[in-house]
């Protein structure tokens, strides 16, 4: 069993979690992985993820269950270890060859030099053959597809350098480029590995998120309940949906009354009433009473999936963003080939057909221009930036998301579940007399309805002695207090006129009913995030599917000038498209199914971890924790990291401007190549580390 723990960050967290879980009966072993922020647990079969999650919650850590089936950890592990091993071999070879090369550079002569070159060759050739494979393979692939990728000049340089060095050594030549070839392999592999790490973390986390909702349903068959996978359900089956559970399928209520939270699908924050005959859609949450639902559509046919398909369409229509690295590679790699070929031809002319000299110079040009620093320029910065964001609780799912985020000038927020937690909190407790409060709390304590739960938590009075407590699912709670009937529940059931905002109604005996109003609780950090974005000069919008009153209140509270209520999913996407057409770069932040099309249409998108699968899949960045505060930081870091990437390109360009003429003129020695390569690679990496 694997759980995601977005909140762990220190040694104390590790020991308190592992120590606590070790004390829990039935758990054999628990190990926290701080790098991936998850815990793997070996437990007896009767231990469910839910009990562990609750226990961790009491301990103060947010935890989400992950589906181990979709976590193909072993596969990504194997690839990462493979790259790391090649990197290790290249590093070992580089150090040993460099040791010998330094001797040659400092003046080893004749037989000694030849011996050192031979030993270098004996180390270098197997190393290149082993460690260079990732480059050779991808170069071959791009050649077969008739493209010139970055890996073609890289592979060419490696093979040419090794070949020439063997030839030179054979003829007791002065220069051998074994060290340069191996160093090239090492630095490029380092870049490749960093790149891989960032992507592997993002990919495993994306799978992890896809796995957050483990798709199971309780099927009722001849009065016997069994838990089955949603994919095994077929129309006509009966499914039991417990209070607090998510409706797994589209269906019709056969039995029971309850209230349904549709906020994820529509953005409405008020629960809707459901009784026999009501139609439910997959993704809605059942609040109060158990329901028996006849499946009308499950899995791929359910409305949830149809929405997801819509998103897939929007996704594929999105223009592919060419990253800075792609653009650089496109401009760079033909240039390298032309330069090397040109120098070969020119030197053939000058030297009057001295092939050995011409090939030597062409190889030197290839080695020196080879994009060592270029290969590190982007991965080093992206690794540093995404590492920082990951620690802050943001997960970059897509490699180019950082660059796109840096270009954003407009932010659109969704309301329910994004800026708010989707959990209500009472707003007018002080208006109630203490006795009435005591009754209300006593009634509320008997129910698991979200309004009741938040009321019971928020009020600090001792509950009154109410007898004969009885919950009427879908309506409210009823009881006896000092000989009077007391009720807490829906307006029509209590006999009150409904208010404009979310409210529960309390009636004591024959007195006039009172309204207890609720407002959706603001997500922690939301105020800071909005303020930070406005301070950075962004235009902030709030577009919600909820009613005008609730949206207006929130917009005022957060200082958002542009807001729109009652928006349908298509309208949200259309709003994004309209702003894009105006030339704006839109960042969409949303969580519901109604946001997904807009998320997919936006230039870059962010969703919280509590969002529905479809929304998270459609977004580029996922907010792992509950706190929205890091959002303002994210944009700042993105802008900075894009700046660093450009700087890195400039640095490697400067090295080339200096080194290429030297190589072209035929003055390049292996020492020069080694110096240029290592200096530029190290400067670029250090520059990336400056990212704060």
């Amino acid at each position: 069993m694997v759980l995601s723990l977005p909140g762990v960050h220190c040694a104390a967290c590790i020991s308190s979690i592992e120590g606590d879980l070790a004390k829990m009966p039935g758990i054999r072993d628990a190990r926290v992985n701080l790098t991936l922020k998850r815990v793997s647990i070996a437990a007896d079969p009767q231990i469910t993820a839910e009990t562990v999650t609750q226990r961790l919650d009491r301990l103060g850590y947010e935890a989400h269950e992950l589906d181990p089936g979709t976590l193909s950890m072993t596969e990504t592990d194997r690839q990462g270890r493979d790259l790391l091993m090649r990197l290790g071999v290249a590093g070992f070879a580089m150090m040993n060859i460099m040791l010998l090369s330094v001797a040659v550079w400092s003046g080893a002569e004749a037989a000694t030099r030849d011996l050192f070159h031979w030993i270098s060759g004996a180390i270098a050739i197997p190393t290149i053959a082993f460690s260079g494979q990732p480059f050779f393979r991808s170069a071959w692939r791009s050649l077969k597809a008739r493209r010139l990728g970055m890996d073609v000049p890289i592979s060419l340089a490696m093979i040419l350098a090794t070949g020439i060095s063997v030839y030179e050594t054979w003829h007791s030549g002065h220069h051998a480029y074994f060290d340069a070839a191996v160093m090239l392999t090492f630095f490029l592999l380092a870049g490749r590995y960093l790149d891989y790490r960032t992507r592997a973390v993002a990919r495993s986390a994306a799978q992890e998120l896809a796995a957050l909702e483990v798709p199971r349903a309780t099927r009722v068959c001849d009065g016997v309940e069994e838990v089955v996978a949603i994919s095994d359900l077929s129309p006509g089956d009966l499914v039991r949906v417990r209070p607090g559970g998510r409706v797994p399928v589209d269906g019709e209520v056969v039995e029971g009354t309850s209230e349904i939270d549709r906020s994820l699908l529509t953005g409405e924050s008020l629960p809707a009433f459901a009784a026999a005959g009501s139609m439910l859609s997959a993704g809605e949450v059942n609040l109060t009473g158990p329901l028996l639902v006849r499946v009308t559509a499950a899995g791929k046919d359910s409305s949830l999936h149809r929405m997801a398909d819509l998103v897939a369409v929007a996704e594929s229509a999105r223009t592919r963003y060419t990253s800075l690295a792609d653009r650089a590679a496109k401009a760079y790699s033909p240039l390298v080939h032309v330069l090397a070929l040109g120098s070969f031809l020119v030197w053939m002319q000058i030297s009057g057909g001295d092939v050995r000299l011409a090939v030597n110079i062409a190889a030197a040009v290839l080695i020196i221009t080879c994009p060592c620093a270029l290969g590190l320029a982007v991965p080093a910065v992206v690794t540093a930036a995404s590492g920082r964001l990951f620690r802050a609780g943001l997960l970059i799912k897509d490699g180019t998301a950082l660059e796109r985020l840096a270009e954003v000038d407009t932010v659109i927020f969704d309301k329910t579940g994004t800026l708010t937690l989707g959990a209500p909190e009472p707003t007018n407790l002080s208006a109630l007399a203490r006795d009435d409060m005591a009754v209300a709390v006593a009634l509320a304590a008997a129910s698991s309805h979200p309004l009741a739960r938040s009321l019971a938590q928020a009020a600090d009075v001792t509950p009154a002695a109410v007898d004969n407590l009885r919950e009427v699912p879908g309506y409210g709670i009823e009881g006896q207090w000092q000989g009077q009937t007391v009720r807490l529940g829906r307006a029509d059931w209590v006999g009150a006129t409904p208010e404009r905002v979310t409210a529960a109604y309390l009636r004591i005996g024959d007195a006039a009913p009172r309204a207890l109003t609720f407002a959706d609780r603001l997500r922690p950090g939301a105020e800071e995030a909005v303020a930070a974005l406005i301070a950075q000069g962004m235009q902030v919008h709030l577009i919600s599917g909820d009613v005008t009153g609730a949206v207006e209140d929130l917009a005022k509270r957060l200082g958002i000038a542009h807001w729109r209520a009652g928006s349908l999913p298509q309208e949200k996407a259309a709003a994004v498209a309209a702003m894009t057409a105006e030339g704006r770069r839109v960042l969409m932040v949303g969580d519901g199914l109604n946001d997904t099309a807009a998320l997919a249409a936006a230039h870059v998108s962010i969703s919280p971890a509590s969002a529905l699968d479809a929304a998270r899949v459609a977004s580029d960045i996922v907010l792992l924790g509950r706190d929205m505060g890091p959002l303002g930081d994210a944009v700042r870091i993105a802008v900075k990291s894009t700046k660093r990437i450009r700087e890195n390109f400039a640095i490697s360009a400067i090295y080339n401007v200096v080194a290429v003429p030297i190589a072209l003129l035929g003055f390049a020695t292996p020492l020069w190549a080694a110096l240029a390569m290592s200096l530029s690679s190290i400067t670029v990496s250090l520059n990336a580390l400056r990212l704060k």
Partner: protein, 53 residues
């Protein structure tokens, strides 16, 4: 210069030893959780004896 006959094989052997150690650490999954491992040394668990397998 005759000393090179010994020194070069020795340096290669020592380097190879390092490489072998690296392979071993890779195979025994010591790079799975670098961040967590660097924090774990602060815990006092298993300070007196190693964790039983």
């Amino acid at each position: 210069m005759d000393v090179l006959v010994f020194l070069i094989p020795i340096s290669l052997f020592l380097g190879g030893l390092g490489l072998a150690a690296f392979f071993w650490s890779l195979k025994s999954r010591q790079y799975e959780d670098p961040e967590g491992d660097s924090r774990r040394i602060l815990n006092s668990d298993y300070d007196d004896r190693p964790k039983p397998d």
